[in-house]
């Protein structure tokens, strides 16, 4: 069995004349918390969209556990253990928190389409087991009290947690978080950090984009810095903080911590 490694090699994504991601190469190793940072418009989210199959990159290879996943559809990639969250939270907004998390159980459920018409003892058992798993996620993310609440009536910070709980319900091998701290206050960011560490303890590799530099430096083991779609540096947080190009392109241009 190949190791749980994600290797991008020469990935390039263009939109018309604009090259959003330019010849990107990076390697996420099993058990890492890996960060991708860069100024606005650097192409970070586009990289994630390429990995998760929402976009297809024009060139390069995206290799996951020794298999090429470039060109697969999002749901095929999810079945291989890669799950993501969105920068602009995308929950099933009229549905309850528990139902949202239950959606993550979709690929683990053994029900077939005809169980949507007629239930069998096995499908009822499967249904119950999956709701039990939802209960575990509700506990893990401290969301039990909101189980029956429609997500569109919840505060932003809690919605972020629901989205992570939904992703974790899939039992992924690689969790991709697109700006998980955006819109969170300091206390919530701290909780998020702890949650990410707890997720790693379960053996899940984490790949994240983040703007909050303090949080990135705290959380990640290894970083890649993008600017205008190109990788300008990679290394441990300490190395990155010292890197002259990074200071020039990113830290230097944005003094404001809130950005």
């Amino acid at each position: 069995m190949a190791r749980n490694e994600l290797i991008l090699n020469g990935v390039t994504k263009r939109f018309g004349g604009l090259t959003a991601v330019d010849d990107l190469t990076l390697k996420v190793e099993e058990g890492q918390i890996y960060g991708v940072i860069g100024p606005n418009g650097a192409g970070k989210t586009t990289v994630f969209n390429c990995i998760t199959g929402i976009y297809k990159s024009e060139e390069g290879s995206i290799n996951w556990r020794g298999k090429e996943i470039r060109g697969m559809t999002p749901y095929q990639i999810v079945r291989r253990g890669i799950v993501r969250t969105f920068q602009t939270i995308r929950l099933f907004s009229e549905m309850s928190v528990a139902e949202n998390i239950m959606s993550g159980r979709h690929i683990k459920s053994r029900q077939r389409w005809w169980h949507g018409i007629v239930h069998t003892p096995a499908s009822r058992r499967d249904e119950r087991e999956n709701w039990k798993r939802v209960e575990q996620q509700l506990d893990f993310f401290n969301l039990s009290e909101f189980a029956a609440t429609p997500t569109n009536s919840l505060p932003y910070g809690i919605q972020r947690r629901v989205e992570m709980a939904r992703a974790m319900a899939v039992e992924p091998t690689l969790l991709i978080l697109d700006e998980p701290a955006a819109g969170l206050n300091d206390k919530e960011t701290l909780e998020l950090l702890q949650t990410i560490f707890r997720i790693r303890e379960q053996g899940v590799t984490v790949l994240l984009i983040e703007h909050d530099m303090d949080m990135v430096m705290e959380a990640t083991d290894y970083l890649t810095v993008l600017n205008f779609g190109k990788k300008i540096a990679e290394g441990t947080p300490d190395e990155i903080q010292e890197h002259p190009d990074v200071i020039e392109a990113y830290l230097g241009s944005e003094h404001d911590d809130d950005e």
Partner: protein, 298 residues
């Protein structure tokens, strides 16, 4: 060859009527993202209003001046109805789920269609002969004065609309609103006025289309709006809905297509072939011929 030329002439005539009606659909869709199902019935209503203007106001006069007055009065009446319709049935639903507005449009369609029936009766009425019956024989091809009038007047109206949209300030406001309503509002464009204007233009062009249908086919019925409306709507989609030159092109193409189906195959299959064409176009190119592809931002 004779069939070809004859159907070419017929197709262009029908096509220009489709195009005029299609413009109403496409302009409303462009700004409001709403299929105005009532538009076809507005077109039918225009034919009946024209009939009443002719008998009650113009005293059945068919001089050039009287005919122009009939067109103008009908267009004004229909423009007013269009504005009222938007105000009462669509404006309250602008922020509602999209399907609510669609159902409201369907409701408006039923109301107008059956309103015509209640006022003018369920039986077919004969539209007056406003344009003299003059025919020219070019070889074995017959072309009537009505066809020439319809084609020329439609072209003039379409060119005028195109210039208005492209060259004037109000036209620019319409274009801006159809690209991004919120941004247009922030830039100081009164979107409510733009929408009212669109209903005025769309309804009056539809009114002209309705009068043409009366002139050309003579027999008008209260429920004919569905038929012509659907065809015009298909034309708008084929051209790329929301796109004004697209509606003109789509109308002409659909008119020709229909005429050739009727000429070479059978008119009893015209509907089926039209919709098979539509489905094929949408499957191959989901945004129509001149429509632009829009990518969803993730």
């Amino acid at each position: 060859m004779d069939i070809f030329l004859q159907q070419l002439a017929n197709g262009l005539t029908i096509g220009s009527m489709f195009a005029l009606v299609a413009l109403g659909y496409t302009m409303v869709y462009g700004v409001m993202r709403l299929i105005n199902f009532a538009h076809g019935d507005m077109v039918a209503a225009a034919a009946f209003v024209g009939l009443t203007v002719y008998t009650q106001i113009m005293g059945e006069a068919t001089s050039l001046g009287a005919v122009i007055m009939i067109f103008l009065l009908t267009a004004i009446v229909m423009a007013c109805i269009g504005v009222v319709l938007e105000r009462l049935a669509y404006r309250p639903l602008r922020t509602a789920p999209r399907l609510s507005a669609v159902v409201s449009a369907l409701g408006a369609s039923l109301m107008i269609q059956n309103g015509i029936m209640l006022v003018w009766g369920p039986q077919m009425r004969i539209f007056p002969e406003l344009v003299p019956q003059v025919y020219w024989n070019l070889g074995n091809v017959v072309i009537s004065l009505i066809q020439v009038v319809i084609l020329l007047l439609s072209l003039v109206l379409m060119v005028a609309l195109y210039l208005f949209i492209e060259k004037t300030r109000m036209g620019a406001a319409i274009r801006a609103s159809s690209i991004d309503q919120d941004a247009a509002r922030l830039m100081g464009i009164n979107v409510n006025r733009v929408i009212a204007l669109i209903f005025i233009i769309g309804s009056s062009l539809g009114a002209v289309g309705g009068l043409f249908i009366g002139l050309y086919y003579r027999g008008i019925t209260f429920n004919m709006g569905w038929q012509y409306g659907l065809y015009a709507f298909v034309a708008a989609i084929i051209g790329g809905i929301g796109n004004i030159p697209g509606a003109m092109l789509g109308g002409m193409l659909l008119g020709l297509f229909n005429a050739f189906i009727a000429g070479y195959i059978s008119s009893t299959w015209a509907d089926a072939f039209t919709f098979i064409l539509l489905i094929a176009i949408l499957v191959i190119r989901p945004t129509g011929i001149l429509g632009e592809r829009v990518a969803e931002k993730v």
